[in-house]
């Protein structure tokens, strides 16, 4: 009896440990990366203590810093989902930038005939168009993969270049507002069609929708049969096909869903930040999203803290430049080292003595 009880608690603790592993390993890797970066700073004769002090101050040290960090995190949440969702099927989609750009362009273009329409109708229509365009764009990479066997990593990246060229062409040509002389843009949005700030915060609503999207994506992947099927297919396509899972539809669905998230990010860039579509839409959020999704190990909930962390690095970059007279590339070095550390930590799963099953 006593024996069984002891085993029971032991098993429970082990289970808890195993659940902790996906959190503990990346956190340790992050810390290891920070240590390596601190050594790098020392070789440059700079104080790591001052550096991390400024990172803290610039990213999280005050209400203003938090607003700075959170507003940078807003587009990154949705951009990361564009990578994380297809990744559960084993697809590496890195062209989210294209869906953001075209989503933003679609929102800006469709807003023109919507001028005068109340926001309750206009904004959802704009968002829906942006998501649809984003879904088609990344869905195309999924379709190429499924029907033609084209590598989705390459095709999605190339599609991003096409998307940016298409946006430049339309913004400088047919959709150009003649008033926008030296920065070609679509006509400014009607005042009613601009998305405002979250009450009491200096952050637009994209943050809330991004966080909701992350939660919904987590539920989809972890708690529904579609998500279960996707994870099976991601583990072994052949086995999934043998089981009769609709692998093709899953690929199309998950790539399209990822694209829709990126398109929504583009919608918020236009409706909440720029108030028109122009070349500033290609700001690289899609590429930062790749980093975040990988750091979060494609877990949609984990995207939220990781995006906030990277946004915080970004938010403190200015302060680092101004106070320590370090170049902007410093933050890229830090991000690169952290990224490498977390990728390498993949090898640590199941090997850290602490998490090893005993006996």
């Amino acid at each position: 009896m006593a024996m069984v009880e002891a085993q029971g608690t032991g098993g429970g603790a082990m289970a808890a440990l195993r659940r902790a592993e996906p959190v503990v390993v990346p956190v340790l890797a992050l810390l290891a990366g920070l240590v390596v970066f601190a050594l790098f700073l020392l070789t440059q004769g700079r104080s790591p203590i001052a550096f991390f002090g400024y990172v803290w101050q610039g990213a999280f040290g005050s209400a203003f810093s938090w607003m700075n960090t959170l507003s940078r995190a807003a587009p990154l949440l949705l951009a990361a989902l564009c990578v994380a969702l297809p990744a559960r099927l084993g697809l590496v989609v890195i062209g989210g930038e294209g869906a953001i750009v075209l989503g933003g362009l679609a929102a800006g273009a469709v807003a023109l005939p919507l001028a005068g329409v109340p926001a309750v109708i206009g904004l959802p229509v704009m968002a829906a168009c942006a998501m649809a365009v984003g879904a088609v764009w990344i869905g195309m990479a999924g379709a190429l993969r499924h029907y033609r066997g084209v590598n989705e990593t390459i095709s999605s990246l190339l599609l991003a270049y096409i998307a940016i060229a298409l946006m430049n062409h339309l913004v400088e040509g047919p959709l150009r507002d003649p008033e926008s002389l030296n920065k070609p843009s679509t006509a400014p949005l009607d005042e009613a069609l601009r998305v405002g700030m979250i009450p009491g915060m200096d952050v637009h609503w994209g943050l809330v929708f991004g966080a909701i999207a992350c939660v919904l994506a987590w539920v989809l992947v972890e708690r529904t049969r579609w998500g279960f099927a996707a994870r099976i297919a991601g583990g072994n396509v052949r086995a999934a096909e043998v089981q009769g899972l609709p692998v093709g539809r899953l690929i199309l669905g998950f790539t399209a869903l990822g694209g829709a998230c990126a398109g929504l990010a583009g919608f918020f860039e236009v409706a909440a930040v720029h108030w028109s579509a122009n070349a500033s839409l290609a700001a690289g959020y899609g590429y930062t999203g790749i980093l975040i999704a990988f750091l979060a190990r494609h877990n949609a909930i984990a995207i939220i803290p990781v995006a906030i962390l990277l946004a915080g690095f970004d938010a403190s970059s200015g302060l680092i430049q101004r106070r320590m007279d370090l170049p902007d590339a410093t933050m890229q070095v830090l991000q690169g080292i952290v990224f490498m550390a977390i990728l390498m930590s993949d090898a640590a799963y199941g090997r850290l003595p602490f998490f090893k099953a005993k006996g």
Binding site: W56, G61, G318, L319, R322, D328
Partner: protein
């Protein structure tokens, strides 16, 4: 390597499950936060004027951003002024946060966000909420009825510099074909292309200028491709309007073509092939504006200047410019500095055959019509769309 990894991993590992350690850690974190909160006041307690500069690209790009950073360096040398700078700030909400950060954390009251795309909506969003801060924006068209009073715009008539570039090019060219690598078909760029060709045509009316638009302000690969394509097409003098002319200058000189610089002095990159260059002289503009602010005077909201005002200057003529070219270059430069000189004057057609300036019609450099230019003049091979 292995030892290091273990060393960095080990201390943190066993501590995680102990609540006491966790509490201790949290307390330490709180202490660090308190310390860092205390930092800004201590580090930033200074009197005088704090001026912020924001660049869209790297400070050392041999081009647009470097020209502004050189201006900032001149301000830095002034008495009673602190300069804070940020580079690589995109034209997104990032620039709003950078400006707010300079205002909130550094106490900046005079800002120079130097990229055109920072203006609308970013500066226009922040300015009304920060009435005590002066936002000086490069390149915009400030107008009293549309924009806040604490915003100002400034720019220079650098098209005149491209006209002088064209004179040097006209004398150096043998093939009578010159080339222009351009970012985007926008008024500022189109005026430069047209001025470059018209300068060259003032030497030899048979000269043509081929233009290639890269579509981006900074895209090294396309700039190199465009330069190579122009040289392949027979162009033997190349100039450009992109943010960082380094790639164009080095590629063109490497192919044996002459080059005219832009934004900053690139002669060091191609000493033998560099003819001259149209440079910004922001040091003069910025020190003037900061001097005025220190004296308690208001900076005018709309500032423009040219060669005569010291906003623009030419790189020293290179060894490849022939004697006749030097004489004409200096003579025209002196004439421009006197004032009243027009590059765009009739009879002049665009390259579609439409008349853009009737016989006897002339546009001075100060004419706002030129800031809305939408055409390429006759003799330019290329299209705005």
């Amino acid at each position: 390597m292995t030892d290091f990894r273990l060393a960095s991993l080990r201390p943190a590992t066993p501590a995680l499950l102990s609540r006491r350690d966790l509490l201790r850690g949290t307390a330490a974190l709180g202490g660090m936060a308190a310390l860092s909160m205390a930092l800004p006041g201590a580090a930033r307690a200074q009197s005088g004027l704090t001026v912020g500069f924001i660049y869209v690209g790297p400070r050392d790009d041999f081009g647009y951003n470097q020209s502004h950073a050189a201006g900032a360096a001149a301000v830095k040398a002034m008495e009673g002024v602190t300069v804070v700078e940020e580079e690589n700030v995109p034209e997104t909400q990032d620039v709003q946060k950078s400006m707010e950060s300079m205002i909130n954390l550094d106490g900046a009251t005079l800002l120079f966000p130097t990229s055109f795309g920072y203006f609308d909506p970013h500066i226009l969003t922040l300015a009304p909420n920060n009435p005590d801060v002066r936002f000086q924006h490069c390149g915009g068209l400030w107008s009293a009825d549309k924009h806040p009073a604490n915003v100002g715009s400034y720019f220079g008539y650098i098209g005149m510099g491209q006209y002088l570039n064209g004179i040097a090019a006209g004398h150096a060219s043998v093939s009578k074909k010159i080339g222009f690598v351009a970012a985007k078909p926008i008024p500022q760029v189109l005026l430069n292309i047209n001025s470059f060709l018209l300068g060259a045509r003032s030497v030899d009316p048979s000269i043509t200028c081929q233009v290639i638009f890269t579509g981006e302000w900074s895209l090294a690969v396309k700039e190199a491709e465009a330069t190579n394509a122009l040289v392949d097409a027979g162009c033997d003098v190349i100039t450009c309007h992109v943010d960082g002319p380094k790639v164009v200058v080095e590629t063109a000189a490497g192919r044996g073509a002459f080059v005219c610089g832009y934004h900053a002095d690139q002669s060091a990159l191609a000493p033998e092939k560099y003819l001259t260059g149209a440079e910004w002289n922001w040091a003069k503009v910025y020190t003037d504006m900061v001097t005025a602010t220190l004296a308690g005077e208001a900076i005018p909201n709309f500032v423009r200047g040219g060669l005569a005002d010291g906003f623009i200057r030419m790189s020293p003529l290179g060894p490849a410019v022939p004697e006749a070219g030097r004489a004409q270059f200096e003579a025209v430069k002196a004439e421009i500095e006197k004032g009243g000189f027009s590059v765009i004057k009739g009879p002049l057609k665009d390259n579609q055959g439409n008349i853009v300036a009737a016989d006897g019609e002339a546009f001075l450099e100060t004419d706002p019509v030129l800031e809305g230019m939408g055409y390429l003049v006759e003799g330019v091979i290329g299209s705005t769309s």
